[in-house]
């Protein structure tokens, strides 16, 4: 299993996809989190992400290893963006490739769920007139 883990200011989807391509894989599942214009009925202007980079990268490595133990995966990509992100921009890219699609779907779902729970990254939402850090997990 090969994994590519990164924290970056801009996520390039085509590049991230290329890192999942694998001659032994028949299925690639990706999940991309994007900035949406509305959260809890409030109009969002933009998001700002901050990470405890060293620890976040370590946690993401550990999650990739956990996923590789649970499913037969060939490639794993986990990339999170930091900094200011506008509506529709990607903030997180999760991808897995495997021989069959079951493993690819299940592991991608697992990775995004776990990332949201444990990886030390914080989101600040900016609305028309103010901004606030989001407390999501726990």
């Amino acid at each position: 299993m090969e994994s590519h883990i990164a924290i970056t200011t801009d996520i390039n989807i085509a590049d991230a996809y290329q890192m999942l391509v694998d001659p032994k894989s028949g299925g690639i599942c990706t999940f991309i989190g994007t900035v949406r214009d509305l959260n809890n009925s409030k109009e969002v202007n933009n998001l700002f992400f901050e990470a405890y980079e060293k620890m976040a990268l370590l946690k993401m490595e550990v999650l990739a290893e956990e996923a590789a133990q649970k499913w037969p995966l060939n490639k794993i990509v986990i990339i999170h963006a930091i900094g200011k992100k506008e509506i529709t921009e990607p903030v997180v890219f999760i991808g897995t490739s495997s021989v069959h699609r079951d493993a690819a779907f299940q592991s991608s779902r697992y990775l995004i769920d776990r990332l949201k729970e444990v990886v030390p990254i914080w989101k600040k939402e900016t609305y028309q007139d103010h901004s606030t850090w989001i407390n999501a997990h726990p």
């Binding site: 949201k116 990886v119 030390p120 407390n135 997990h137 726990p138």
Partner: protein, 79 residues
């Protein structure tokens, strides 16, 4: 002891890196948090505040020494 602070915890402490006064060489996480709450009472209002020690989530009983890399981890919201 140097302590990293992130997100809303950084807003409360006023800096990404605070120099936290420690008299003892070793301290348990729960005692460290008590001292922290005395200095920054607004931290008590957070839904949770985890402490990481050398890049791992620590329990209340984990012992910190002043050379460890310690960070304040308010509820995460990545993804």
């Amino acid at each position: 002891m140097k302590v990293h602070a992130f997100g809303v915890a950084k807003d409360i402490t006023g800096a990404a890196m605070i120099d936290f006064p420690m008299e003892e060489t070793f301290v348990k996480v729960k005692d460290f948090k008590d001292l922290l709450y005395q200095k920054y009472p607004d931290l008590i209002n957070l839904p949770s505040l985890a402490i990481s020690v050398n890049l791992f989530y620590a329990s209340e009983e984990t012992v910190i020494n002043k050379h460890d890399e310690v960070a304040l981890i308010p509820p995460v919201s990545g993804g």
